[in-house]
Symmetry: D2
């Protein structure tokens, strides 16, 4: 790492760390405490946990005379690293009224100060890779801050907006085209000299049969036609597990759709409750719904290999609080609108090896009963998306900005 | 209601309403939001709900040109009154980051202002009885604010104190005496011209066989002897339901007892974690534990009729944040230390009739599968205790300041 | 015990033991194995457990050279006696395909043979009281065999009859009268030289205010009027716990009522599915329903003291497989139709003391969160009913032959 | 279908149908009724459901003047075919004491008679493919009959044997070799003119990187070393979901291992409780355990493509009630000992299309959150195994004869 790279890293560190606080800025301490379900975490917890990551994995082994900011934080803000020791139980994160939000901000400031000192000193070079990992980790949590917050606000009958704003209706996009790909023996996985997560490696050969992808994501208007046609009442369209959830009343429409007293659909967004825009992509749907919709259309979901094969020349985009309608030509909305469910379960690539030690718990131990989502969403931080990126969630998860890309 | 009475009521209104804010004063907005279990409510919710009571039952039918402070609050802060309409689900009260604590304070101020106008006007006389009920209701919630808060803070591994303070050890009281009562055909239930709840009426005759009560509550030291003697391991001491909970690991010691690394017992209090004081009364125990302890001692729990029979001449006391050790002679600690489990299920007195309308949902509909507790606790507001008072909780409830009075 | 008494006991033993086998006679081994819910037990288990009672509590301590019929049965067929040791988990009783029904019959025959020898020998006198308890215990299980079986058969879409038979409609009884009682200082509890359970003792004084009881039980026709009037949709009629169950869809009509495709009500009985007879008493209802119905009628449920006060001169009756319609004059159906919910929780009488040892687990440890039912039902064995008898079940239990006697 | 083929089919029909009754022959009606968990079904239900399959899918559309054996059986014995209509709830199959086992045998005889008539008549040719499917379906249930029965008997503290027999210890096999495969662009999926399930199609190209398989399955002795080395206490070896189950106490050793009072391991088998044989393959383990064991050995589980690639020349074997020890050279135990967990989630092959109508619910709708197992087990019926066969179960399932084949 030359001086230039070191400065880049310091700037990246400052920029990413500042962004987390920006996300929290419009929120009250109460907004930052509440936890709406075990899968979601409070904003305050995200702010503390991302700091804990730097303190635990970088400062502790590298800082001279290291002393923790607060000895209890090692347990309180450990997410799932068994190698680090005990963890505070995840469903109870919303009960931690102490430390206060102000104390967590002080924790961030303290760690940032010590990290700046470390990065400027002789060990700055050694820790660069881990710092990069910590920043990517924090960016992942930035997206979760927004989706967890959205889930919390949606539970409130007042439907409060994160940032109040009237949303303009998008222009209705043209019918989706099928873009054909020849496939063949291909390589997938990360290639390059930048950062990637361990689950994107090793790059390896795979055979991809000829396939086609829809040129854009499925819209709200198209999904509404599926609902109106009885899509949620026809078991022949559904995976058995999904149908069980439909019958149990757990899945009846996209997560944040609200039927008004006048029968018109509205959608809860981070800008508050809005009239449902038929032009924008449908979002906050489970794998079950994505799969049922595809079956109704006589199509299917892509595999992750197909998606990555197709994405190599797609344009990066994004950076809003709700997915925009498609516009333009060719393969659109691969990035920046909604994460796209694939038919691929989350599994190790041939030859995959996690890092040694607690940091190796990052990805590998979750490789069962989860499905890969590809692309990125409107809430994904800038610079965090790439064609080889593998996001993953259980098949029933709906609180992320998930959407549908058809394949055949 | 003459002028003097009206002024008394206005003063009482101001004093009780101010007290709720005093309880919340040392707390942050975060402390006031979190909900540690479905049975407990956030402080902010208590502040709003007690205000909702005045707005809904007094202002709405009596104020000229009534308009609600916020139309959604009718649902958000309704606890259980079906007659008023829909209710926000109880287990989700901790998710209401909005309205903020400041908005709830504004709600209180607004209702207080309007109530003052009403009380000073021509309808002041008509509503006096309802205002009295609303104040008594608010006092009940003041005790719950402290017990719900204690439960919340106890979930936090930092064991934060509500008001930090070192607690002095009490002087070890003398062995309890048995105070004998002749019993006979007696009357129980409220008698007098002051306020009482409908469940204390009608005063009625009952036959009480001769009995004796212990002169004071069971102490921590005495209860520790029960634990050390294997009380939690001997099924012959327990009601079957209680033993099931012991076997399931749900009941292993009083709720807030913590065993230190050195094997010494500590107790979590509103003043923080403290060394267990053997002189103070044992508290935060279920009916199952009270009953098992009594059986171990060859005694039993009193009935509510026995308790009331004995209490007619007992001294009122109280007003701390943790029960004090007994001192003095004769029948002690009937009031002001711990609520005392009785063997009586909560049932209507002969001829009981609830008030008409939604206000009638106050007591009667809970008269099944709950047990009566008598006396009052250190957290009971001044002026809220009397010999005929009937508190009630399910047999497994432990987060109130409950204790054990033996009978035989 | 003279020779005559000994012979009586031997005959009673033979008669009661034979009756259990008679109840099982029309059933297949499959019918005798299945368990439809944790609260119910298989017929085979009842046959074995009642035998285990004699083997464990009488033969084991009294038989020379005692050896168990099968060493594993001590655990397999222990119901809830912690003093005896381990128990097979109650919800898994229906998994015991071995021992077979034939083996259990052999177990019964072996114990009966050994009991006969014991009763005819020198220890016959000593064990007489325990034998009497064992027979009363077996009679309780005989009623449970019928109610547990009914619950099982009701789960089967074929609605199989235990004993197929067309049920004649009863004659519509006259409107119920109110029979007034003066009350006063009275004694309740068992008095006499026959058998009673420990929970009926000691006989003791209690004060009973003047009251009135309905002359007969509430009929199906009367209960139907409650349903048709929206009784299950009006929260003001219900205890809060009951209303929660109504809202959860758990309670919507009496347990075995079935609405036919033509909208007519049918009732599943041990004689199969039958047209609902408006003349017969409503049965298989919870305390919540009994209480709500009474409130709808402007009445209430009796206390157990009132019931016993009134029952002292009531006629014993019973012995069918479904409750009969009322006929005659005065206080009817106190016995032999339906167990009658009271407003009294199941609690020890003043001075109550259970027997020492495991046999003392019979009654006392269940004295919490259960309600007393008085009288007897059509399924109660002959000779098992008396005015002081205290049956008890949780407030939500509906699979017994429970009914409603109004009071005011 | 010529005459010869028709006779073959008739013979196959008779042989397979007879085999189901043979499996049930040693069992009592009680053994055939009980259901030990929702995932398992009673033997009687298997006997009826396999018959229902022929009646519903073959007789109903093809038999002249079709009338069902019993109209209620359409619902009672439908497993999961939404296209056929309502289903009796799966967890309640063990409550169907009626119809009796004898009636189900009569149902089988009746359908067999009508099937024989149909097969011998003019429609025999048309239905041949469906009959073949029905027989394969019945063979799948034959394996389930044995595994469901084993699970039931294992719940019984008497540990009854299905067929009592002392099991000889196997000869300790030599250390496993690594058999290397070059891989490359290969085809997998069924190829041939015999029967296969729709999920084995279409045969398609896939790229397989070079790999090696262990020459035999992991033995009990080897697995015991993993336990003794603390395998169940080291989170670094486990998938996160698996570790959660370990921590919850749900997974602590292979399902049917029992630790004797002397500390020696025993294993419950269909021949009763036996000393654990270190030479036989470990069986009844979850995917989590298979995966953790592989990680401990520095290996991994094979993908289904690797397994099929290697299996093309493997010998078929099997037909016992417990897996045998390995013997011989080269790649052993691919078939006939234990189903082998793979790392592949159960997903459609490229171009997969289920059959139209209710019969199409056979496979496709289960393609989520399940993992593929390859090979066959000791309980797989003769003639039911092939290299392309795809068995599938959730990752936590342990009641099948599952085992571990290592890969690297």
């Amino acid at each position: 790492m030359g001086i230039g790279q070191r400065e880049d890293l310091v700037h990246a560190f400052q920029r990413v760390r500042a962004r987390s606080l920006e996300i929290a800025a419009p929120l009250s301490p109460e907004d930052c405490l509440a936890q709406s379900m075990p899968d979601a975490s409070p904003i305050k917890w995200h702010l503390a946990h991302t700091t804990w990551f730097f303190e635990t994995f970088i400062l502790e082994p590298n800082e001279d005379g290291f002393a923790p900011f607060h000895p209890a934080f090692r347990v309180l803000f450990n997410s799932y690293y068994n190698g680090v020791g005990a963890k505070h139980p995840r469903p109870h994160r919303g009960l931690l009224s102490r430390p206060s939000l102000d104390e967590v901000r002080a924790y961030r400031a303290d760690v940032d100060r010590r990290m700046a000192a470390l990065l400027g000193g002789p060990k700055g070079i050694e820790v660069a890779a881990l710092v990069e990992l910590g920043l990517q980790h924090e960016q992942q949590h930035q997206e979760l801050m927004l989706t967890d917050l959205k889930h919390l606000l949606a539970q409130n009958p007042l439907y409060p907006a994160y940032t109040p704003q009237a949303m303009a209706s998008g222009t209705q996009p043209a019918a989706a085209d099928w873009i054909a790909f020849e496939g063949g023996l291909a390589e997938i996985g990360y290639k390059g000299s930048g950062f990637c997560f361990d689950n994107e490696l090793p790059r390896h050969r795979t055979y991809v049969a000829p396939f086609a992808l829809a040129s854009r994501l499925v819209t709200n208007g198209e999904y509404l036609a599926f609902i109106d046609a009885g899509g949620y009442r026809d078991p022949s369209l559904w995976l058995a597990e999904g149908w069980d959830r439909v019958c149990a009343g757990e899945i009846t429409r996209p997560l944040y759709w609200v039927e008004g007293d006048d029968g018109r659909w509205q959608e809860f967004t981070l800008h508050g409750l809005q009239a449902l825009d038929p032009a924008r992509p449908v979002t906050h749907i489970s794998l079950y719904e994505a799969d049922a919709y595809a079956r109704w259309r006589g199509a299917r979901l892509p595999t992750e290999a197909e998606w990555e094969f197709a994405a190599r020349r797609a344009a990066l985009a994004g950076g809003a609080l709700h997915p925009e309608a498609a516009s333009g030509e060719g393969l659109q909305q691969m990035f920046g609108a909604c994460w796209q469910w694939t038919a691929s379960s989350y599994a190790p690539y041939p030859g995959y090896a996690p890092a040694p030690g607690a940091i190796g718990e990052y990805n590998g131990k979750f490789m069962v009963n989860q499905y890969v989502l590809r692309g990125s969403s409107c809430a994904t931080p800038e610079g965090h998306a790439r064609a080889s990126y593998r996001n993953f969630f259980p098949s029933g998860a709906r609180w992320q900005f998930t959407g549908i890309r058809l394949a055949r």
